[in-house]
């Protein structure tokens, strides 16, 4: 089979493509302008660097986090300018996973695999749990317990009927139609 023939049209495709490119270019320019303006502000850079440090320390064992956070933020304060602290923090952040694994923390991949496995086991045990519940319901001991409960209710109802003056036979006849009444 050869290539599909071109669908004839009045430059429809090229016009749409042009608008799309212009729109994306405008959006890109706006985003670049915003990011550039933000990065020119030293406060934003410092905030970003601190955020990166916080995110880095989350990869480390819990008992070491405070110490490293304090140390890294202290070292960031010594770096002058806008970009230097940001680059420093970013380089630390890039190595955070490896550093965490070195300190005995599981990698992101291991965490993902463990979570997926746990979810899968939970999902697989759902039908088994249902079967177990059903088996428990149908167990002779549980049927006996249900029957005893019904018996107590029926005896109570019978006593009410006698007390209200209804004939014993009539009461019993009506009771026979109730579930569990055969137990009397």
């Amino acid at each position: 089979m050869g290539p599909h023939p071109r669908v004839p049209g009045q430059r429809g495709c090229s016009r749409v493509k042009g608008w799309l490119i212009a729109g994306l270019a405008t959006l890109g320019a706006l985003l670049v302008g915003m990011v550039k303006a933000d990065l020119e502000d030293e406060k934003v850079c410092r905030w970003l660097a601190r955020t990166l440090v916080y995110r880095t320390t989350r990869h480390l064992p819990a008992d070491e986090r405070d110490r490293w956070r304090e140390e890294l933020i202290r070292d960031l304060l010594d770096l002058q300018g806008r970009v230097a602290p940001l680059l420093w923090a970013f380089s630390v952040y890039l190595q955070a996973g490896r550093w965490g694994r070195m300190r005995g923390m599981p990698s992101r991949w291991e965490v993902l695999v463990a979570r997926t496995r746990a979810a899968w086991q939970r999902l697989r045990s759902l039908p088994q749990a249902r079967v177990r519940a059903r088996a428990q319901q149908l167990h002779p001991a549980s049927i006996q317990a249900q029957a005893q409960t019904a018996h107590v209710k029926v005896v109570g109802f019978d006593a009410q009927l006698v007390a209200s003056g209804t004939t014993r036979s009539g009461g019993s006849a009506s009771l026979m139609s109730r579930p569990g009444a055969w137990f009397i």
Partner: protein
Amino acid sequence: MGDLPRLTLNVLRILRVLLENPTVARHGLEIGLAAGLRGGSLYPVLSKLEDAKVVTSTWEDVDPSEVGRPRRRLYQLNPDGVVYARQALAEVQQHLSPADQHSPAWGRTPGFPAKGGAPA
């Protein structure tokens, strides 16, 4: 000392910086700048050296409110660490010295003179 780290280039650079003046404690950024390492390479190695008890680290003994800045974490080679660092650097230097001192026949074209030596 505990489990010693592998002698990578970054480890050697840090050991060299710390060995320049073993009696002086330095903070992480200072070590990193002197060794030419970025933060991502520096702190994992420092923590590894600290685990191996080659380096000891302590918080700077100052009151932040008095000096008007947060305290620094200072690193210093301990006595065993100084010995280890010297040995490690000497070993590497020995390995990196010209080949004709240790293995004359290896890596040299027969008949050609070694660098700065007489023809073989």
